[in-house]
């Protein structure tokens, strides 16, 4: 039994199965993060004290000046670096796919390896951020802003980890498929690339809404 259009495109839809599948999955993900962001908006507008940090907490954190907001505890420089890292990884994953299209497997390994390093770098910086919060006794329960921060960035980090596993598989053992079914392997890289762009996009929304606004 052979399922049609697993590798080649169906003429009238112009898509192979997995490509339509990943777009639908991403639509579902848009609804998930859409609900999370909407909840954030609703909680923030619904509670006048949402961003206000009490004086005692600000003092314990050695923050200078008056009238502190919860977002002051987040590190904008680290998040900015992370934004650059993710955007760069979106470029490298396109390069890895393009290299495969040009039948240059060595270049694919290089660009895909860079993408994986970027993902690891992102997670490393994320870990530094999280541990600095925990070391100052800032937890999800401390305030609703921090609850939103940890939930949204935590779910995003889970998506990065999920992507990382697939990227590592395609870089390592999964790349054997290039010998047996090259077109199918190109499709796989394209599909995970679409997912990776989405993960990137979520962060591009998370960064300003949590750190800057």
């Amino acid at each position: 039994m052979q399922i049609p259009y697993t590798i080649e495109e169906r003429p009238d839809t112009g898509l192979y199965n997995a490509k339509l599948g990943i777009w639908l999955f991403l639509a579902s993900e848009v609804m998930l993060f859409g609900a999370l962001f909407s909840s954030y908006v609703l909680l923030r507008t619904g509670d006048p004290g949402f961003m206000t940090m009490s004086h005692d907490v600000a003092e314990a954190l050695h923050l200078e000046g008056h009238a502190h907001r919860w977002s002051d505890v987040l590190s904008v420089p680290l998040a900015f670096v992370n934004t650059l890292v993710l955007i760069f990884s979106s470029v490298t994953i396109v390069m890895s796919w393009a290299s495969l299209r040009l039948k240059d497997f060595g270049k694919f390994r290089l660009w895909m390896g860079l993408t994986i390093l970027c993902a690891l770098g992102f997670m490393g910086i994320k870990a530094i951020e999280y541990s600095s919060k925990f070391s100052h006794h800032l937890y999800p329960e401390t305030s609703n802003f921090l609850g939103v921060y940890f939930t949204l960035t935590g779910l995003h980090a889970l998506h990065v980890i999920g992507g990382l596993i697939v990227l590592a598989y395609l870089w390592g053992p999964g790349s054997k498929m290039w010998k047996s079914q090259p077109q199918r392997f190109v499709n796989r890289v394209e599909t995970v690339g679409l997912y990776w762009h989405f993960v990137d996009l979520v962060w591009i929304f998370l960064f300003p809404t949590l750190y800057l606004l």
């Binding site: 399922i3 049609p4 999955f25 639509a27 998930l32 909840s39 999800p140 329960e141 609703n144 939930t151």
Partner: protein, 591 residues
């Protein structure tokens, strides 16, 4: 047709050069959509029976409050029913879990997981679903999700007891069972996500040559829209579930308002959360979910009616467009569940308007099905009986929904038995009857044998009478203002006294309904081995699953040879054609 019964030898060679698979791979971790469909079917039927049993226990308590439950009363445990007498806490668990189990573990898996899985690939001429491994994963997310729900009855404090809607802050402070409920739901949401992606890709990508969208059987359209609803409506509930889980486990305050006082103590949490946020996220899923419950049922009924009236469906195109419109609209009606929350009259006006609008496509579909009966020489087969009963039952369910969709009348009726009567008319004598129609209709496809018609009638008529005996009085009780969640059925309320006698009537009807399912259970299992053998197309149907595939279909790939399609799905009684049905795959003049 004779070609189908004996596949040509060379086709067999092509199809069957695989090795016989071990038992566990063939029946347990199967990737064949037919086996997975049956796994879904039997698991879902078990959960339907289990959920029904929970209700039987509740109905005993409502008929005779505080009287020990006979026979099984002693087995329920001292914590739930000391001396066989049901405690209110246990009653609340039964209520919450009845709703959860019936909706998420019973009807949706049966309607989509079972019927969709088995029938859709056959109706579009596909060898399997687009992603067989995802299909398997979908079942194996559903199954542990169900086990977690069942296991939650045995944790301290018992299962979830905050209603199937799990409104915070009640659910946030509820016993441990609520955490199990949330974890179970995350499994079920994952399962439905995998399933819906698979269905949509299958329907878009694997249609055979000639099968354009306007030639798809209505059942496939219904499953397609259903899959979109599942795909897009469930994620917000997942977000809400994650928030509630964190509220319970990490003590965050997403749904916990500031200064909440419980039993005289201020709750220790940061506060500032919004309990209404949960309701919005929950109903954003749960209203489209209503259409997930009803659309596959409409699809089944349409198939059965077209086949048994021997006529094309009246207004097939309007039905398809109405279904798509219904799908869109179902995303913007959710807050009609929340008229009483104080969200404001402006928002209420918006949602009552959209609610009135969404009734139009439902009426279009139902009217088209009614008119399809006009002038037909109807075959009163067992599936047709259930399909015919579906029409007025769904009609009653829909019409009684209008006063609930209008904010002024809803204020009186909200959370009364009227609501229970309304949505049960839609899903019980509505959807579940359609599910029965589907089982009787496609049973010969699965087994090559027919179910017994006498037992079928013995199942249908008592079920039809008793199910109305349960739900019709609920409108009366509800109009009198009796709340839906009362452990004693309203005994201690003065306004409930004039209608209290109905409790006994409804309970006896419920027990009758339970007994009426015995012929069905006997029929189902007996017919698998002993039912009357039939040929591959016993109903003389036009759609591909009957006309192009043997019954049961070939193990790998369904079809002996890939069919092609030449015409629409319901070409019955075509003038000039010798038979009264013209199969989709019969070459000839396109029409």
């Amino acid at each position: 047709m004779s070609v189908l019964e004996k596949p040509p030898p060379e086709a067999e060679d092509h199809a069957d050069h695989h090795h016989p698979e071990p038992f566990w791979k063939r029946y347990i971790f199967s990737q064949d959509h037919k086996v997975i469909g049956l796994q879904y079917a039997f698991t879902a039927l078990f959960f339907l029976l289990f959920g029904f049993t929970l209700m039987i226990l509740m109905r005993w308590q409502l008929a005779w409050p505080g009287r020990p439950i006979p026979i099984i009363g002693g087995l329920l445990g001292e914590a739930n029913a000391p001396g066989g007498i049901m405690l209110p806490e246990f009653y609340n668990q039964l209520g919450a879990m009845h709703g959860t189990i019936m909706v998420f573990l019973g009807i949706v898996p049966l309607a989509v997981g079972a019927f969709g899985n088995y029938v859709v690939p056959l109706q579009i001429g596909a060898p399997d679903m687009a992603f067989p491994k995802l299909n398997m994963a979908s079942y194996w997310c559903y199954f542990p999700g169900g086990l977690i729900m069942l296991a939650s009855f045995f944790v301290p404090g018992g299962a979830a007891n905050s209603g199937w809607t799990s409104y915070p802050p009640l659910s946030t402070i509820a016993t441990q069972g609520q955490t199990w409920w949330l974890v179970g739901m995350i499994f079920l949401i994952t399962s439905s996500l995998l399933g819906s992606v698979n269905f949509i890709v299958t329907i878009f990508q694997l249609r055979v040559k000639g099968l354009t969208f306007m030639r798809l059987p209505f059942f496939v359209h219904a499953q397609l829209v259903t899959s979109f609803l599942l795909l897009l409506a469930f994620p917000p509930l997942e977000a809400a579930g994650i928030f509630q889980l964190l509220d319970r486990v990490l003590n965050t305050s997403f749904f916990q308002p500031s200064g909440l006082v419980i039993s005289g103590e201020v709750l220790e949490a940061a506060g500032g959360g919004s309990p209404l946020l949960w309701q919005h996220l929950f109903w954003f899923l749960a209203h489209p979910e209503v259409y997930v419950l009803i659309l596959p049922a409409l699809g089944i009924v349409a198939e059965v009616i077209a086949n048994n009236t021997r006529k094309p469906l009246w207004g097939y195109k309007s039905m398809v467009y109405a279904t798509i419109f219904l799908g869109f609209m179902s995303f913007i009606v959710w807050a009609h569940h929340m008229f009483l929350t104080g969200m404001g009259t402006t928002i209420s006006s918006f949602f009552q308007t959209t609610t009135m609008i969404i009734s139009i496509p439902s009426v279009v579909i139902l009217t088209a099905l009614f008119i399809s009966l006009w002038g037909a020489s109807i075959r009163f087969t067992t599936p047709m009986l259930f399909a015919l009963a579906f029409l007025p039952m769904f009609g009653i369910g829909g019409l009684t929904g209008l006063p609930l969709g209008l904010s002024p009348t809803d204020i009186h009726l909200h959370d009364t038995y009227y609501v229970i009567g309304h949505f049960h008319y839609v899903v019980a004598p509505g959807t579940i009857f359609a599910m029965f129609a589907g089982i009787y209709y496609w049973f010969p496809k699965i087994t090559g044998r027919k179910m017994n018609d006498f037992l079928g009638r013995l199942h249908f008529w008592p079920s039809f009478i008793f199910i109305n005996g349960i739900f019709m009085p609920m409108f009366i009780v509800g109009l009198a203002g009796v709340s839906r969640r009362l452990w004693d059925g309203g005994e201690q309320y003065a306004h409930a006294q004039p209608v209290l006698e109905w409790n006994l009537f409804m309970s006896i009807s419920a027990f009758g309904l339970l007994f009426a399912q015995i012929p069905f259970m006997i029929n189902l299992f007996w017919s698998i081995k002993k039912g009357k053998k039939v040929d591959s197309n016993p109903w003389q149907a036009t759609t591909l699953e009957w006309a192009a595939a043997p019954s049961p279909p070939v193990g790998h790939g369904n079809f002996v040879e890939v069919p092609a399609v030449y015409r629409g799905p319901y070409e019955y009684s075509v003038p000039g054609h010798p038979d009264d049905y013209l199969p989709q795959n019969l070459p000839g003049k396109e029409g």
